[in-house]
């Protein structure tokens, strides 16, 4: 990997100006998240495809597991801290950490400092890491500064705003701008795109009826758009939505934003 890091960034899609600005080939360290690793690896593959296409070198710190959010959100702070410390160790030297999830990115960038408020050393580690954590769409637009990744997909889609991405990281227009540059794609907004899908981690299995009621409300809104696919930035919301679509027998796909942008 050594000499490839010195290679010039290809200028095609991003323009010569940007290529000159980054003399060295920049490297993005993937945190694919446990759910993508174990259940939806295609999302990770798509992520790598897009990042490499726009000229980034991608690396995958092999010891990564989970950010600790399942334990944190279920009220198991000690367990969450243990997993968070592991994460901080694994990604200590990463320059850009790219995460295909608004929820996991928010956990790391917003909640780690709460988790370690009484542990100064780890708090410092967490604070040092915070600015290096990037949700995928934010990374494309704010770090790589690419809006058009050269994707093509002939499809009518609708976009689901994931709660943590939307309300904790302020992700709203970004994914829509990226989708707007996908050739052949038509975005049709839901009337309640910002309403929670009802996943909520362990909430989905602790209160299945409430969670199920919430996702069915979301489904009605999705169906009203007539879209053939629901696009989102979080695999967990998409699992909830797809699981409900499948149960309802609705022939609508779910796609992670990375999967849309990887198509051409």
């Amino acid at each position: 990997m050594g000499d490839s890091a010195l290679r010039r960034r290809p200028g095609g899609l991003i323009g010569l100006e940007r290529a000159v600005e980054f003399k060295f080939m920049p490297r993005a360290s993937l945190f694919v998240t446990c759910i993508v690793d174990q259940l939806f690896p295609d999302i990770g593959v798509a992520l790598v495809e897009v990042l490499e296409r726009i000229g980034w070198e991608v690396d995958f710190p092999a010891d990564q597991t989970c950010c600790g959010q399942p334990a944190f959100n279920t009220g198991y702070r000690d367990e969450a801290r243990g997993v968070a410390r592991h994460f901080l160790k694994v990604f200590r030297d990463a320059e850009y950490i790219v995460v295909p999830s608004g929820s996991c990115a928010a956990m790391i960038a917003r909640r780690y400092s709460e988790l370690f408020e009484h542990e100064p050393e780890w708090l410092e580690e967490a604070r040092r890491l915070e600015p290096r954590v990037w949700e995928f769409s934010k990374f494309l637009l704010e770090v790589a500064r690419v809006e058009d990744v050269g994707a093509r997909l002939e499809k009518v889609v609708t976009f689901h705003d994931s709660c943590h991405g939307l309300r904790e990281l302020g992700i709203k227009e970004g994914p829509r701008r990226l989708l707007g540059r996908v050739r052949g794609l038509e975005l049709r907004e839901m009337d309640i795109s910002e309403e929670c899908c009802g996943f909520g981690g362990t909430f989905a299995v602790k209160f299945p009826e409430i969670s199920g009621g919430m996702v069915r409300t979301k489904l009605d809104s999705i169906l009203r758009t007539g879209a053939g696919a629901v696009v989102g930035i979080d695999a967990s919301c998409l699992m909830q939505i797809r699981g409900a679509l499948s149960r309802a027998g609705a022939p609508i796909e779910t796609m992670h934003l990375a999967q849309v942008l990887a198509r051409r």
Partner: protein, 477 residues
């Protein structure tokens, strides 16, 4: 093994008409709010919210000072301030007042604080049940229910429900038009106002530098409750204080907008003392009851203290996808929605209904609209941790605790995590399609709960890390 709360929740979810009523009513309130906080009509919304948050924080940090200041100023204007530790103290005071004044009828305006101490029931036991004069509360009182929503107590009642209720309880002809129902209520209530000896109200704000009680409403019944009877008793939690009259410029702009989507409510009353000699309207006597009822205990917790900032606008309920499914009566106490889930465990104890702080998807829609910027999701998370600690001490919920310990251990050992992941295709082997059911032995616990509502994804042949490794090997890295 469904608990009583689970069964009640399931019944609400299965009631299509109720679901429709809750969803439309909350959607309407939320859309009214959106219209009046839009950037072009209220460009300083964020500044107002921040200011409100800071004022509440400052007031609670100096509550002792402002309480005494309020008492001094209210007393100077002729009001009498009564300090009540809890609901029992309020009931004692009011019962005493009833016998002192030889009162036969009490009219009452809408007040969550009085709901919190079951004032009506407890006064009824003493022989004088107050008559509710807010239309929603009037309906609820006739139905012998408690409020469904902080600002819209009868939100779950359709006009047909109300028609049946009025016929059954008031003996009037069945009337399904809302305007006509309102007229019926008004006719019944007018007589009560004129005959009442005591009027009981809550308070939206207490202004320390003038000793003023501030009340907002839309129906005019609060005006009548607080002025027609000879005696007015305002019952307020001690957190209702604001330091100065000019602080109201912040709070009044936020309260109506957040709650019902009104720039200002129809009536805003500023009550400073009883009627003076030169004045025509107003009661001869004004009592202001300052209620603690556990608030000082909340005040002692530096983090959760912010739940006392709440101005009871109900916006968090209207935007909460959980409230909008389960409604107001599945919450264990009078306060429902996100704010209810946050304050109930603090007032009644975290182990009283341990499920409550967990009944949230943590979507943060509540925090986004809260006019005083209470960090509700964070407080829910803190309470979850507290519930778990309390349950660990009691030796309850052992299985889940053990599962999370094992899970966390696995997540710190990447090799073992990977090996455990190899089991995934064995468990979730659905071919290519999504999985609707699992074989008996696997259809347990969280998998069963998940499958009760939706399908599970088939496990991929290889995890991402294995795909990545194969790729790197192929590339000779």
């Amino acid at each position: 093994m469904a608990t009583e709360s689970e069964l009640k929740i399931a019944a609400t979810l299965a009631d299509g008409r109720l679901q429709e009523a809750i969803y439309t009513a909350t959607a309407r309130l939320a859309s009214h709010r959106r219209a009046v906080v839009a950037t072009d009509v209220l460009p300083d919304l964020e500044e107002l919210r921040t200011q409100a948050n800071l004022v509440k924080n400052h007031t609670l940090e100096n509550l002792d000072h402002y309480l005494e200041q309020f008492e001094a100023n209210a007393t100077a204007r002729g009001a009498r301030v009564v300090w009540a530790r809890d609901g029992a103290a309020v009931v004692e005071f009011l019962a005493g007042l009833v016998s002192e004044k030889n009162a036969r009828l009490i009219v009452k305006s809408k007040s969550m604080t009085t709901e919190e101490i079951d004032l009506n029931e407890r006064l009824a036991e003493r022989g004088t049940e107050p008559v509710e004069t807010d239309l929603g509360e009037f309906i609820i009182q006739l139905a012998h229910e408690r409020p469904y929503h902080i600002v819209a107590p009868a939100l779950h009642k359709t006009r047909y429900d109300v028609a049946d209720l009025f016929t059954a309880r008031l003996g009037v002809e069945r009337e399904i038009e809302i305007e006509k129902q309102t007229k019926i209520a008004r006719r019944v209530l007018r007589e009560k106002f004129l005959a009442a000896d005591i009027g009981v109200s809550g308070a939206n704000f207490l202004v320390a530098d003038s000793g003023t009680v501030v009340l907002v409403e839309n129906e005019g019944n609060i005006r009548l409750t607080t002025t027609a009877p000879k005696v007015h008793v305002a019952i307020a939690g001690i957190e209702k204080l604001v330091p100065r009259a000019q602080d109201l410029a912040v709070f009044l702009r936020l309260l109506g907008r957040s709650g019902t989507g009104q720039p200002l409510t129809v009536y805003t009353s500023f009550l400073s003392g009883p009627r003076r000699e030169s004045e025509i309207d107003g009661p001869d006597e004004l009592y202001i009851v300052l209620l603690d009822n556990g608030r000082t205990r909340l005040l002692a917790d530096r983090e959760k203290r912010q739940s006392l900032y709440c101005i009871r606008c109900g916006a968090c309920l209207n935007h909460c996808p959980v409230y909008r499914k389960i409604g107001g009566h599945n919450y264990p106490w009078v306060y429902s929605g996100p704010i209810g889930a946050v304050i109930t465990p603090q007032y009644l104890g975290v182990t009283h209904q341990p499920w409550l702080p967990f009944a949230s998807s943590l979507c943060s829609a509540c925090a986004e609209v809260c006019p005083v910027k209470i960090d509700l999701p964070k407080l829910l998370l803190d309470l979850r941790a507290e519930v778990n600690q309390a349950q660990a001490r009691q030796g309850r919920n052992r299985l889940e605790r053990l599962a999370f310990k094992m899970w966390a251990w696995l997540m710190r050992h990447p090799r073992l995590y990977e090996m455990a992941g190899l089991m995934m295709p064995v468990v979730l082997s659905g071919g290519h399609g999504w999985i609707a059911r699992l074989p008996g032995p696997l259809n347990v616990g969280p998998a069963r709960a998940w499958l009760s509502q939706r399908d599970l994804p088939p496990a991929p042949a290889r995890s991402f890390r294995r795909i990545w490794r194969a790729r790197q090997e192929a590339r000779g890295n």
